[in-house]
């Protein structure tokens, strides 16, 4: 397996001082995806920023996994609303006066 874009869960947990059960709990509720080979479990590199955010919420705000799931859902909604605002603003430009 090509592990170039994968980060070992062991290494990640040691670096961030967190327990591996936290990572597996995030996977169980579908917030992150993990992959495994014969020896290790890995995190996908492109999921790293999102995962680090969850670690901060967990470690700094003492938010548990269920709370993180809710926060993630609400943040997704915020982002979706922000996209909608941009789309509406672009639509509104149609009706702005042509100079």
């Amino acid at each position: 397996m090509n592990t170039a874009n994968l980060i070992s869960v062991d290494e990640f947990c040691v670096c961030h001082g967190i327990d591996q059960t936290f990572i597996h709990a995030l996977q169980q509720i579908g917030l992150i995806e993990l992959t495994r080979d014969e020896t290790s479990v890995y995190i996908y590199g492109d999921e790293l920023p999102q995962l680090e955010k969850f670690v901060r919420l967990y470690a700094e705000f003492n938010i548990n996994v269920e709370g993180i799931e809710t926060v993630a859902l609400l943040l997704e909604r915020i982002t979706s609303l922000q996209d909608e605002i941009i789309a509406l603003k672009n639509r509104l430009r149609l009706y702005e006066d042509i100079e």
Binding site: C15, H16, P49, E52, E60, V71, R93, E96, E99
Partner: protein
């Protein structure tokens, strides 16, 4: 460089106890934490201020220096030297600090002038951290967004050449992986996020991939029909005008709109609204002919 009132930032006064500072910091840091305020530059700016205020006020030594010399920060260095001569030792304290996201920025010039560059990063451990994400805004003209082109950006002193695909939207964000801040202790670099801001065009409006424009049509062509050439984003398009075209008529020119993002060869449509212009400064002969027409 302006004086920064760290007490005011945390909503405290000078009599605040370490517990007051910790509580105020914790409350505000949660409120403005970048992880909880996505794409909110103002929240990110406030979060940096709050972190900086906490960095100073939660450290007894820094707080003492700030209280004494805050407004006269230029003299802080002299104070520092005197303090070292007296070999005073500051008491340690338990401080907590939110790391924010990787987008956590630098401290202010005021902070660095007073406490030295890097003073706020003393608690970094040997843990590898992904570098800070950079956010930049790039302004484009509508005509530039209509064609794939390369552009060189200067981000934090580094030139980055990027390809901007035709059809990019106003407000769209693209990620340039690995062009953010350098990782800490061998961690990966952060990413660069570019938000595109596309200026309104004076005569052409865009919605998704469709373009909208209004063109003047002389009365005679409107009545009798004919052919006109319209210029849309520097492209000349020949349009057939049907006889007896009414003012405000909208015609759709399929495939003459804006390029579809990352779908080469696909375009939206162009919608042309006719604004019929009534002739002015008529000659006597023209007036007579219009009169004759009106009686028919």
């Amino acid at each position: 460089m302006t004086f920064i009132d760290y007490y005011k930032i945390l909503g405290l006064d000078k009599t605040a106890t370490p517990k007051d500072i910790k509580d105020a910091y914790r409350k505000l840091a949660k409120q403005y934490h970048p992880d909880l305020n996505p794409n909110d530059k103002e929240a990110q700016r406030k979060f940096q201020q709050i972190n900086e205020a906490n960095e100073v006020l939660s450290d007894p030594e820094k707080r003492k220096k700030y209280d004494l010399y805050g407004k006269d920060w230029e003299h802080a260095e002299a104070f520092e030297q005197a303090r070292q001569r007296q070999q005073q030792q500051g008491a340690g304290s338990q401080r907590s600090r939110y790391s924010g996201s990787a987008s956590e920025g630098d401290f202010s010039d005021f902070f660095e002038a007073m406490f030295g560059a890097g003073a706020g990063r003393e608690r970094r451990s040997q843990v590898r951290f992904r570098g800070e994400d950079y956010h930049a805004e790039l302004q484009l003209q509508l005509i530039d967004a209509a064609q794939t082109h390369k552009q060189t950006l200067t981000v934090n002193g580094k030139n980055i050449r990027i390809t901007i695909p035709a059809g990019i939207e106003n407000g769209q964000v693209i990620k340039i992986a690995g062009h953010g801040g350098p990782g800490v202790n061998g961690g990966p670099n952060g990413d660069l996020y570019i938000t595109f801001s596309i200026a309104n065009h004076p005569t052409v409006k865009r919605l998704d991939n469709n373009l909208y424009t209004t063109v003047d049509l002389d009365l005679y062509t409107a009545v009798l029909g004919g052919e006109i050439i319209i210029n849309v984003l520097n492209e000349k398009i020949k349009v057939k005008v049907k006889p007896e075209t009414q003012n405000g008529t909208v015609v759709k020119l399929k495939g003459k709109g804006f390029p579809v993002y990352k779908q080469e060869g696909r375009f939206g449509d162009l919608f042309v609204t006719y604004a019929i212009r009534i002739p002015t400064n008529l000659t006597d002969r023209q007036k007579a002919l219009f009169t004759e027409l009106s009686k028919m």
